[in-house]
């Protein structure tokens, strides 16, 4: 009896999560879907979306990893304050984030004004899309990475140092391989969030095809004139996100942490094969 109830609850939950997204695919015949999609505009938007979200992800990894490591490993006054502040973009409405970004990076903004003196304009440019995506999705990565780093036993890092390995090298040879699954899922989450980012991009970067019109913005624009195109593009966005997320998770599962170590470290760090050791 309990089993049946259990399965029903799970089935209802899954249906709730899947059906709205599946509906996008079945609202029109596949042929129509493809015909509506087959426009330069949607390819352009897809291309831009992938380009910007991947760029955003790279910057997030570069900037977010040290922040996450610092938050996970150090102890200082006001640490929980910083941790909470880092999560703020998750809870702030995207339009608010967009306004905030304009106030900082806009041409009359805090930093934007200084940049504009050098002829650099960040807003309403492809880089603005990347910034908006970074701002919105970085907390997802930082949060996951922070937990992954915190879960790495500090004693392993200590023992590594007693074995004569520097902190930097220890980071690559111990911390990263052990935190890899968490980092990977954080990156996947952040990347997915960046791909679907709409509100802040619309506000901060504008809606210019080929420059700032990412797939979600193209969907919004298509809704103004042709609902079918909008649905078709939504299907495309879902499909692309789904495929890439699946790839990331598969990568996470098949990548043996060991291999990450070997790949991550170029110098020969004494990784031995069975034959060498037992011969």
């Amino acid at each position: 009896m309990f089993r049946i109830l259990w399965s029903i609850v799970i089935a209802i939950g899954l249906a709730f999560l899947f059906l709205p997204l599946l509906a996008v695919f079945f609202s029109m015949p596949i042929g129509t879907l493809f015909r509506e999609l087959n426009t330069a505009a949607s390819y352009q938007a897809l291309q831009l979306s992938i380009k910007t979200s991947v760029s955003a992800l790279i910057v997030i990894l570069l900037l977010g990893t040290p922040i996450a490591y610092w938050l996970a490993r150090s102890n200082f006054r006001g640490q929980s304050l910083v941790r909470a502040a880092v999560q703020m973009p998750i809870v702030s409405p995207p339009a608010v984030a967009g306004v905030g970004l304009l106030l900082v990076f806009g041409q009359s903004g805090l930093l934007g004004h200084a940049f504009s003196l050098f002829g650099i304009s960040l807003s309403f440019d492809t880089s603005a899309v990347i910034i908006a995506q970074m701002f919105i999705s970085a907390p997802f990565y930082i949060h996951a990475a922070m937990q992954a780093f915190a879960a790495v036993d500090g004693q392993l890092l200590t023992v590594s140092r007693t074995l004569g390995v520097s902190r930097w090298s220890t980071f690559w040879r111990v911390t990263i391989p052990l935190a890899a699954p968490g980092l990977l899922s954080g990156a996947a989450l952040a990347w997915g969030r960046a791909l679907g980012e709409f509100g802040a991009t619309m506000m901060f970067a504008g809606n210019l095809p080929g420059i700032t019109q990412t797939l979600p913005l193209a969907i919004y624009t298509a809704m103004q004139s042709n609902f079918n195109v909008a649905v078709a593009m939504s299907a495309l966005l879902l499909l692309v996100s789904f495929i890439l997320l699946i790839l990331v998770y598969m990568l996470g599962r098949t990548t043996h942490v060991n291999r990450t170590v070997k790949k991550g470290v170029r110098k020969k760090h004494a990784v031995l094969s069975t034959s060498q050791i037992t011969s």
Partner: protein, 649 residues
């Protein structure tokens, strides 16, 4: 040879230890929290001492006076942790080889093979640590520390993670291994038995200072004070029966082993006897150990055959005596903790001059690493990094954009209210046909977002506003000098094809129960809808407006959302712009006109911002839109003809 003197203030006491350890094993024992693990961390460089020095084989690892602090990774100290801390992602072989950096591959293989053989781990070289038993893990941890050929080996509670059965066996094994390595070795333990087996020498520690140091047997037989005696499990009594003192700082004491104590219920005729009450009892092998509280706390073992005759219970009063041949009498310095500290605070370095030569290459604490430790500076550094990274990106992008402009094409940017998406796309086509090499990019969004973006200095050539108030605001701020009406539109009622609420006219919205969806007041459609309702009050009765608004189930920010909800049948009726009902939507909704006398004309306005990058072309576009040709395109999409064309405001 290790020699050090270290002082470090801890939370409850000050750690203050001076020791010389030759190439043998010193077992450091004390209760948990006595500072022994901290001492290991100080030696390994994991914790910074307040004062003192560490010298290993003539090399200075730490010297507070000369601010020398060699980092952990350069001290060449092997360390084995309580839980062994094996890298879970590496095999046994890789764990052992981990620290061998900058060593030739062949030599790594050979050295790893040697230690694998020494610790009988050959068959496990490919195994992952989590598949090993506690004893095996301990051997791997030891092998990993020793393969680096350290000058000093530190073991922190190496046996406490093992279960009782394997413990004895592993302990004996570890003793053999430690005897072979021939370097100074410090084993920290809280168990005297471990210390006795492992250490050639033991040091008893309490609250940060060493109370006694010596060979295990010597410490057990002649404990320096009561604490040591209790720790090693023997009896220590200040000999008050001996009246003469040997000096002010020295006390005559006697000690005897618990198995020589004789426990009786009544007094006996022995020379030395003490009375007391049994506080606790426990079985120790073949004997029952009793803890007796009296004038002096004592321990006594009762052998099991005595036990059968008379069992001693907790709370019983007993008499403990010992035969004089089992008593060890000796003199110990009555050393108080304060005196010990006074001693230790005189820091004298042996031969300090010779070490100067090595100091040059040593790491000093006041180096660049320190400032990165402050979170504030780190945060500033990160923000700076963001700034630099972003500017580099934009700069390269700006370069690229500049290259584009060098060609013959010009790109105009237009900010267009989303409701004008379709006609404006047609206008773009028409304009681009007439002006070759000119491309128009349009950003379609809500007017209020476009307004914000303009206020933030977005580079824009043309602004099409769906609302008078927004463009008027822009004008007030001096961002545009003049704006013009460009298109007229009117409102209609839309109902689903099935029309479940049977709406046939505007009047029905107030009369019949219907799920009505209108625009929110802040967007033009919402404002116009309310104006229409107000006007209708005069015709349909003064309650119409209130009644109709009472039927509203949702206020949307976007006309398209009103239309979609009506088309999907979620709403019984909605009020939208006529032009929004595209041919596709006409198959799903029915349009009900609003009487012209009650309708409100919705006007779109256009303007060229003063900072437009391409003002000439932008003005050409503006003129084209208000010309007959442009208006024809608007009418094609259902807009009303412009009755008057001219400046506004």
């Amino acid at each position: 040879m290790l020699s050090f003197q270290l002082r470090k203030s801890l939370r409850e006491f000050t750690l203050d230890v001076k020791l010389n350890v030759p190439a043998h094993t010193l077992a450091l024992i004390g209760h948990s929290g006595c500072g022994k693990t901290t001492l290991l961390q100080l030696l390994a460089g994991l914790v910074h001492a307040d004062d003192g020095f560490i010298e290993l084989d003539g090399k200075t690892l730490f010297d507070a006076k000369q601010t020398v602090m060699l980092p952990t990774e350069r001290r060449n100290i092997g360390m084995v942790f309580q839980n062994y801390a094996l890298f879970p992602h590496l095999s046994v072989g890789d764990n052992i080889a981990y620290g061998l950096q900058g060593v030739a591959r062949a030599e790594i293989a050979e050295r790893v093979r040697d230690v694998l053989r020494m610790f009988q781990l050959e068959s496990l070289s490919e195994a992952k640590p989590n598949t090993l038993s506690g004893g095996q893990q301990q051997r791997v941890a030891l092998a990993r520390a020793l393969v680096k050929r350290p000058k000093l080996l530190l073991l922190d509670e190496p046996l406490s993670a093992l279960d009782v059965e394997t413990r004895g066996h592993v302990r004996a094994e570890l003793r053999t291994q430690l005897d072979q390595i021939g370097i100074p070795c410090i084993v920290v333990t809280h168990d005297y038995e471990d210390a006795r087996v492992l250490g050639q020498e033991i040091a008893v520690m309490d609250r940060g200072i060493i109370l006694q140091r010596g060979e295990p047997e010597e410490v057990r037989e002649r404990p320096a004070n009561r604490f040591v005696a209790q720790f090693v499990g023997t009896n220590w009594v200040a000999d008050d029966q001996v009246s003469e003192t040997c000096g002010e700082e020295e006390t005559r004491v006697l000690s005897f082993d618990p198995w020589h104590a004789v426990v009786t219920r009544g007094p006996v005729s022995a020379e030395r006897q003490w009375r007391g009450r049994i506080r606790d009892r426990a079985l120790y092998g073949h004997a029952l150990r009793l803890w007796v509280d009296g004038d002096v706390p004592l321990i006594a073992d009762v052998s099991s055959h005595t036990l059968r005759e008379s069992s001693f219970e907790v709370g019983e009063d007993v008499c403990i005596s010992v035969a004089s041949e089992h008593i060890r009498q000796y003199v110990t310095r009555a050393q108080s903790a304060d005196e010990e500290r006074r001693d230790a605070s005189i820091f004298v370095r042996d031969e300090p001059s010779e070490k100067q030569t090595q100091v040059g290459e040593l790491w000093r604490p006041a180096s660049r690493i320190c400032f990165l430790r402050s979170p504030l500076t780190a945060a500033v550094a990160l923000i700076a990094a963001v700034g630099v990274g972003a500017s580099v990106t934009t700069y390269s992008h700006a370069q690229g954009a500049g290259a584009n402009q060098a060609g013959h094409s010009t790109t105009l940017t237009a900010f267009v209210a989303a409701n004008a998406t379709d006609p404006f796309n047609a206008i773009i086509q028409a304009f681009e046909q007439r002006h070759s090499g000119v491309f128009i990019q349009a950003s379609y969004t809500g007017t209020q977002i476009l307004q914000t973006q303009l206020q933030q200095g977005a580079p824009d050539d043309l602004f099409l506003s769906a609302d008078l108030s927004h463009i008027a605001q822009i004008k007030k701020e001096g961002l545009v000098t003049q704006f013009y009406p460009v298109s007229h539109d009117k409102e209609v009622i839309v109902v689903p094809k099935a029309n479940p609420a049977h709406i046939t006219s505007l009047a029905d919205l107030g009369r019949k129960p219907v799920n009505l969806i209108i625009g929110v007041t802040s967007v033009p459609i919402g404002k116009y809808t309310r104006e229409i309702f107000q006007k209708a009050n005069a015709v349909y009765g003064s309650a119409f407006s209130t009644d109709a608004l009472a039927h509203v189930v949702s206020e949307e920010v976007n006309v398209k959302q009103i239309l979609e909800k009506v088309a999907l049948g979620d709403a019984g009726a909605g009020i939208v712009y006529q032009t929004d009902v595209t041919p596709t939507l006409r198959s799903k909704v029915t349009v009900i006109p609003i009487p012209a006398t009650l309708n409100v004309i919705a006007t779109n306005y256009i303007a060229v911002p003063v900072h437009a990058p391409h003002p000439a072309l932008a003005n050409a576009l503006l003129r084209m839109m208000v010309s007959a040709k442009g208006q024809a395109i608007f009418q094609q999409f259902g807009y009303q003809p412009l009755s008057t064309v001219g400046g506004n405001g």
